[in-house]
Every structure is written in C-alpha cells, then in structure tokens.
Symmetry: C2
C-alpha cells in the first residue's frame, strides 16, 4: 500500500528548471515510487491526480504555492524524502556558478550597455513587469514566458510600437537574429530569406527545411502565437515585416502563422503586397486559392513554404506584372464589377476568385446562397450574371450562339456610373456563334465611347476561350476584341485577377495604417549582445554561440508574495 505525502511552501519562488531538478532528485530517493514538484495551479493539480499524486494538502494548495509531493512505499520513506527538500535545494544552489551577478535588469544594462536584447523566461505572472523594465531601457524583448494575459501583451506591444522596439512574445519560443538563436533555436546557415513567424516551432520547421535545402536566413523573427489574433492585431508582425522589407540582405520574406484571425491575416497580406520583394505566405488553415498573386506566393504548408522560398531566392521572379493597371483613369464613384458570362464554369471561377479582392460578389447562380442576386435582370454592386443559366434559355438560343442579350446588357451596364470594369467571355469552337467578336467588339467600342463621353473610363476585360484550330480562330477573335479597346487573355484566372486588382485599388480606403516607430535595422545587424532574465540555460546557450550575455539573478519583489509586492510598488512610487 503506497503512501502519498506532500509539503506546501508558500511565497517561495524557484524557476521551473529548479523545480524539475528537485522532482528528479526526489524520484530517485530510496523507497519513492513517484514525485511531483510543481506550482499549485488547478491544471497542475489535475495532472498530479492523473498520475496518482494527489493528497488533501495538495488539493488545498494555491496557485502561488510550491507543491512537493511523493508517493512512497512506506510512511517513513515519504517523511524522509520530504525532509531532504531543503538539502536538495541547497545542493542545487551550490552547483550554481558563483560569479557576481546583477540582481536587476537595470544593473545588467549598466554592465553590458550595448546589449540590444532582453530575454525573459520568468514565471508568467512576473514576465510583463520585467518586459516593461526592458522597454523603458530601450531594449528589444524576447518574451519566452507564457501564461501572460492578452491585455498585458497589448499594452506591452503598444509601448514597444511607440519606442520602435520589438516585443517577440509572450510565448515566443524562437528567434534567430543575424545567425544567433534566442530561446529554442536551430543553427541555420546565413542566407537570403527573412522569416516572420507567429509560430514557434513553425519558425523552427520552416528554417530547418530551408537549411536542409541548402539555403539560409537573414533573420527569423518570432512574434508570439497570439500576434495575429484580433485583439493583438499583428502589432509585432507588421513591425517585423517592415524591418525585413528595409533590409537589403533579405531577398525573400517568408511569413508563417498558427491559425490567424481572418481579418488580421488579410491586414498582414495587404501590407505584404506593398513590399517590392517576393513574399511567401503560409498561415495554417487559411487555404490559398492561388500559387501567386503579384509579389505574393501562397504555400500549402510549411514544407512548401520552405521550398518556395528557396526557389524564389535562387530564381527571383519578375515583380513588374500588373504595373499597367489603369487605376487613375476612372472617375470618382466608379467602383463596381459586372461580369456577363456565357460560360457557367468561367462564371463560377470568377466568383470564387473575385471574392478575395472585393468581398461579396452577387450572382444569379451563386456559389453560396447568401450571394443570390435578387433579380437576374438588374445588376447590383459587384455581380456576375451567367446568361447561359436555364432562366435565360427557354426557347432561346444559348448565349454562345446568340449574343443579343449580352450586347443589350453590356450597354446597359456601361451606363451605370458606378460600374468600373465589365468582364465578358468569348467562347469559340464548333457549335458557337461563327464570329462572336464581330457582334461583341462593336458593342464594347460603343460602351467605352459612351462612357468616355459621360466623363468616365470603362475597362472591359475579356477571357477568350478557344484554339488556333477552331473555325473562328482564336487569334482573330482576340484581335477584334483588342481593337475595340478590351483587355484580353486566354486565361480566365488572369482576367479575373486583373479586374480584381483594379477594383481593389479603386476601393482601397485610406486605411488607418498601424502606426509605429520603425525598428532601427542596425539593432538587428550589429553584434548581438543580450541580457537574460529567467532560465539560466538560455544564457548558457548564448555563451555557447559566442554571444556576450549577462544573466540577471532575478527574484520577484517580496519573494513572489503579490500583496507585499504591491505595497512595495506603491511605496516606491510614493517615494519617487
């Protein structure tokens, strides 16, 4: 019959490495079956219960109590083990290297004034306070600690944005700055790819794959996994993206995130679009609709993100595509898309793709019910009408054979002062009209001329589907449509994306851009020096990488007793 015995220590602070060491030492004592040394949170008590280490004292422990519990063969063994706690803790302390260490962040900064970074891995409830001290001293913060509230995160990041400093975290596992790893970090070759990640192991996975593929990175900037949630709004992510955009050594930027809030993901993508570098994006659970849109490259997973980044760094893509958009020609108020299709599938694909650019797209045959156009004969907002739908073809030829309804509708749409872009399909081949462009092209020319007379500019874009062997000949049809002033491609996707890009530019509100003081690129490029507060092993790792580091022998104020700490804080303010 096993015996469970526990000791509760209130108001003690030990870092989690010390707790683990103590637990291991206890578990190895004679007659001890299992041991647990943890803080007394509800989650920890559940884990202790699960592994049969719960006792009434443990149940009564509070979150800031240290719980030492053993399951022993006999009462005597349990008592003896608990009697050794003090000795084991002292032995651990004696092992610690006795070099003189500063007791505060301020004192550490005096010892190493050129440090640009403070690494923080103290228990969550103390972490924000330490981070605030670091920011006040003008240092970037690598905040490994978790169990920090989102309110604290927002407040820290606001202060950092004002000061042009990065707060990586909380719960930031990894960063790699100019070849030096902070926290959990792999040794990655230097190279042309810069990574921003709201994803700790995401950053490790992508950068290790980049290394395995023979390439390397400039910087890997972690932001903490909550940075792309609505409340935080990509505060650190946007600053990191901005500094990598300005870094001439970063040729490709790669963005990784745990499942982001959709609106925040779009905000980041919007910012990325304005950068004159290829940007590879892999946000988990945000399925891409395309491999490429302008300078943006969408990956299907972390492997794919790494491979795409390496490929783009080796073979830089042409980023000038889409520079010819006629955005400035439109009159004010022109802002809508009207698609008049004869092909149902072309119309569906257009709906699907266009939604990314303009939000809701109404249709007479919508992909989603909520986008049903009320009256197929009356266009509204951005909308797509498939004139090959059953409603239009009872006792009437299909619109690929008979252009009459489309010509009428085209002229009607072009008179709407809110319409900016009209899209048509010209589908040729056996069965279709013998020369559709001969009827559609004059209508396009007329529509454009009328719009011009009314002081507007009308963009007509056309997907031409067919081959050089078709009776109508594709090139001939394309030439007629172009002569009438239409923009023509044989790729439906290209046509829709061009229309989408124009509409997005027209509808771009002058957004309240996230305001922040830009990060000084020099602080990332100069020799990295750091101050470490919390897990000692993180300081050891920096030393192993040849990085100057000062480890702070940090203790919470009042030994972690929060009431007392609050009194001390008030007294300090009062005196200061």
């Amino acid at each position: 019959m096993a015996v469970i015995k526990a000791e509760i220590r209130s108001g003690s602070y030990f870092d989690s490495a010390v707790l683990m060491q103590l637990q291991r030492s206890m578990a190895q004592l004679e007659g001890i079956q299992d041991a647990g040394v943890v803080m007394g949170t509800e989650d920890n008590k559940e884990i202790l219960a699960h592994i049969d280490l719960l006792s009434p004292e443990v149940k009564a422990a509070r979150p800031d109590d240290m719980v030492v519990v053993v399951r022993a063969d006999t009462e005597a063994a349990a008592t003896e083990a608990l009697g050794k706690v003090e000795e084991l803790l002292t032995r651990k302390k004696a092992n610690v290297d006795q070099v003189k260490r500063p007791k505060s962040v301020e004192a550490a900064v005096e010892m190493l004034p050129d440090a640009s970074w403070v690494l923080i891995s103290v228990a969550g409830r103390f972490a924000a306070g330490v981070a605030r001290q670091a920011l006040a001293l003008g240092k970037h913060v690598f905040l490994f600690s978790d169990n920090v509230s989102v309110e604290e995160e927002i407040s820290l990041k606001k202060e950092a944005a004002e000061r042009g400093l990065l707060v990586m975290g909380p719960d930031c596992g990894t960063a790699m700055i100019s070849g030096i790893g902070l926290g959990f970090a792999n040794k990655i070759r230097k190279g042309p790819i810069g990574v921003v990640a709201a994803a700790g192991t995401g950053l490790q996975q992508v950068t290790t794959r980049i290394h395995q593929l023979g390439s390397g990175i400039t910087h890997g900037i972690g932001t903490g996994g909550r940075d792309l949630k609505d409340a935080v709004g990509a505060a650190t992510f946007l600053m990191a993206l901005d500094v990598l955009a300005r870094d001439p050594e970063t040729k490709v930027i790669t963005l990784v995130s745990k499942p982001p809030a959709p609106a925040v993901a779009e905000k980041v993508i919007h910012k990325a679009r304005q950068i004159n570098k290829p940007v590879v994006i892999n946000f988990i659970a945000r399925k891409p609709t395309t491999r490429r849109e302008g300078n943006l490259f969408f990956a299907t997973g972390m492997d794919d993100a790494a491979a795409l980044s390496v490929e783009l760094a080796a073979n830089p893509p042409d980023l000038s595509v889409g520079d010819d958009l006629p955005v400035k020609k439109f009159a004010s108020g022109q802002r809508y898309f009207r698609g008049l299709f004869s092909g149902g599938t072309l119309a569906y694909e257009a709906q699907f793709l266009l939604e990314e650019y303009v939000g809701q797209v109404l249709a007479n045959a919508p992909i989603k019910k909520e986008n049903q156009l009320k009256d197929s004969l009356k266009s509204e907002a951005n909308c797509i009408v498939d004139l090959g739908e059953d409603e239009f073809t009872v006792g009437r030829l299909h619109p690929m054979m008979d252009n009459e309804l489309r010509v009428r509708r085209l002229l009607e749409e072009s008179r709407d002062p809110e319409v900016a872009v009209i899209m048509l399909d010209v589908v040729i081949g056996f069965g279709s009209h013998p020369d559709p462009a001969s009827e559609l092209a004059p209508a396009v020319a007329k529509a454009k001329a009328e719009a011009e007379k009314a002081g507007r500019y009308l963009e007509v874009v056309v997907v031409a589907t067919g081959t050089d062997l078709d009776p109508q000949n594709l090139d001939n049809q394309v030439a007629q449509m172009r002569a009438a002033g239409a923009w023509v491609s044989s790729s439906n996707e290209d046509v829709v994306r061009r229309a989408g890009s124009i509409l997005r530019a027209l509808n771009q509100e002058v957004e309240a851009e996230a305001v922040f003081t830009p990060v000084d690129l020099g602080t990332l490029k100069k020799e990295l020096m750091a101050i470490n507060v919390g897990l000692e092993s993180f300081a050891e790792n920096l030393t192993a990488q040849g990085t100057p580091v000062v480890h702070v022998d940090w203790r919470p104020a009042a030994g972690g007793n929060e009431k007392l700490a609050a009194i001390l804080e008030r007294m300090k303010k009062f005196n200061g």
Copy 2:
C-alpha cells in the same frame, strides 16, 4: 409614341434557332424598333418587360405558347410586321435543305446503325423522353438541353448505369470524343490527357489551355453541371473516370467541376485515389491543402489544372510512394491517432492536414472550437495534445526541455487497444533538451514492445526538426528514434500524411461502391458516328468535322400539346 403589339401561337413547336432567326428578321422590318420571339415562360416575360416589349396579350401567354411581339413607330407598322410572321417562317423553312430525313430516333438508327452517340438539344420538357429512346437503342447520350428536372436526370442516369452507357448532361455544353467535338467544342490536339468535367466551359477552358501549352487530349467527357450534386451523386462522373482509367492512351486524368457537393467530391476523390495514374483535380471552391497526395494532384484553378496536367504527362511522377504502409500488421480494433507534441505549430498543422484523412480531430488547442478535447489528460478518438500549451507549463519546464510528461503519456496511449498510430515531434536546437532521443527512443521501444506482447502493432511516427549544425545533431537524433522502431522524417507534412494514409486504410469501410455496368471503351475509340435531335447546327458541325451524322426531323408528339401527347402515349401503351 411607340406601339407594342403581339401575336400568341398556341401549340406550335419551333426550335430556338428558328425563333432567333424570326426575331432578327422582324427587328429589321421598316418602322420596327425592337422585336421579341420567345416561348411564353415567366422568365421570358420578365426579360420582355425589361426591354419594354410587354403587352396584355404577352402577359397572358402560357409557357408553351410562342410569343411574337414588336415595338413599332406606328400601329400600322406593328400590324404589318405581325402579318409577315407566316411568310418569314415559311421562308426560313424553304432555306432548309430538303434531303429526306428520318422523323424519329428509331428511324435514324436504322439509317446509321453504327452510331454510338445521340445528341439531344430539343426543348427541355421533351429532352428526357428522347434520351430514354436513345438509351433503349443502346446509344450514349449527349444531352445538351437544359431545363430538365433533376428527377429526370437521376432516372436517366440510373438506366444508363445499368446499360453501361454514358448520359452526358442534361445541360452538358461540351464533349470531345477521340478528337470529335460534340455540342460546343474546340478543336484540340490529340494527346495523353483525359478530362472529365461537370463543367461545360470548364472543359473548354482546361482543354484549350492544354492545347495552347502544346499538349492534347484523348477524350473530354462532360457530365452536366449537376452530376456532382448530392442528388445525382456523380453517376456519370464515376463511369467516365472508370473508362479513362482503363484507356491505355490516357496517361493523366484531369477532373474539373463547378462547385460540387462536398460529400460527392470526396466520393470522386476516393475513386480517383484507386487509379494507378496521376489524377489532377480542380473542383471550384474546394480549396486544396496540398499540391500532391499520392497519385492525386490538386490544382488551384483551371489554368493551374491544365499546366499541371501537361507537366505530369511530360514527366510522369513516381506513384510508388506510400506502398510500404504497414496496414496489415494492425490488430482488429486499432484505429485511432494520438499526437503528442511539444511544438504548437507542428500540432496545428497536423490537425489541419489530418482532418482530410480521418474527419474530426480533437485537440487541447483546436483550430475549431467544436474539436476541443474535453480533458487534456484523457485522449479520445483521434486527438492531438500540445504539451507546450500554457495549461501544462505553469512552474514546469517546456516539453522541449523536459520529456517526462510526454514519456508518461506515450506509454499510456500505447496501452489503449484502439490506438494504431502515435506521433511525436523531436525538436532540437539551442535551448532544447541536450539529447531528447535518449529519453524518447527507449519509451518508443518499450511502447512498441508492450503493444506487440499484447498482440497489437503500434506505429510510432516522428517529425524531427533540426539541422546538422545543432548541438544535438539531427542525424544522431533520427538514428536513435529509428533504432527504436519509429518512422522518422524531417517534414511534418510527410509524417502526418503517412499517419493519415494508414488511418484511412484502417478505417476504410467496405463502401457500397456505385454499381454500374462499365462503359465499353471500344465505343469511345471507334470512328464516331452520331444521330442529332434538335439544333441543326450541331449536325452541321459534325459534318464539318467529317463525322457521319443523321439529323432527325424531330417534332414533339401532338405538336407539343402536352395533354394530347399524354393521351397519345397512353393509347400507344394500350395498343403496344
């Protein structure tokens, strides 16, 4: 002041090409501003109202009435125009080539018994009847007509499945069989790609792009846009896929669809997975999570589908990947996945990818709320636990530093007789445990041995994240885990997909496969001959392609009067 005047003809049947011709002729008459010649459906009356061609007589017209309406400068001009209807119709008839034509499908088959195909483009309400006649005569049906009910479609396709015949449609715009286009079809080079499309212009767009890229097709089989809806259940699509799988000339199969019903899309993909050829899939609005899974290649759009198909035809991929799955080693009842992660992003990506293979995946940090694991300490069904989550790390080291909780949990999971696959991550680098495999590998070996003793097989799969430059050395960690019997890769995606493939194989129910008589491949490959019922231009197009065709001079029974037709039908049955 314009005058609107109309004439209504009841019980007349004219095909839509005749109606269009008449309308154009009327509109060109002296003093006529606009003309409309349509069947009197509600949709058509709305269109007439929209273009100001509505009158009280038009309003009163019924769906099977022919409406002739004009808007004229004067009463006299309107009257004169309507007076010419008969003459214009007769003139149109006189233009028709007077070769002796069969009046029925049966008679046409007698004239051209080797025809394998019947093209049907009569008005929707008569189309199913004609299709049924064609099936009874053992012919494939290309059913261009729209406005055919889904009930009729199901019934026709059921009959076709029994007979091993294809019903392409209703509302099938396009098919290309051995180089001959049916309906709306482009002239596409012959080549190695076979296409199945529940998408008319989708088939045209993809095949024209294939042609433009220098490749070509064997067959392009249309199914009608509703074939992948729940009610129809891919009836034609599965038969078409099956016949292309058996065609030695088809090296790559490409599948295209308008937005499909999700369950039917998965049914098709399931079937496609069993084919020993590369299959490229582009179902609009079904966003892919990967570029490749086994023999399946997922495209982001129609352009991408064409490009991928051409690429795969030119450079056949290795399809043997995944042939080594240990599916037969498991005991009956083993069916679940358990993921024990230290890396949050790895865990999220695993959730996201695994869902495709096993449906719901529970997690302590789920992507979607509904997948929340009730108790993080108790696994259920397929689930993923991130042990780096806040709940596990208060006053405890992160699981990348301390393997204790994971080792305990691994042994616990391995004792669950329903567990088949356990996934771990091993993340190395600065900050991580100095040799995680030294603790995890023995636990894996123990878990596998215990399972074996209990008569089960346990697959442990591991993603190893790190580099050759890391202090722990990636190769060393991989070697230790492999020696313990784990399957290891440095790609998270590869590991998850392997696990997913095993689980899918274990959970594969012996599905009620769609039962059909296979289509005779020979009917697609022999010289195409066809019977055409409906639009004369479709017969002309076949003739232009050098294809033998018999056009049926088809009229609805009782001149389209449905009551009378029903009486005749009953009498026929009674007499027959």
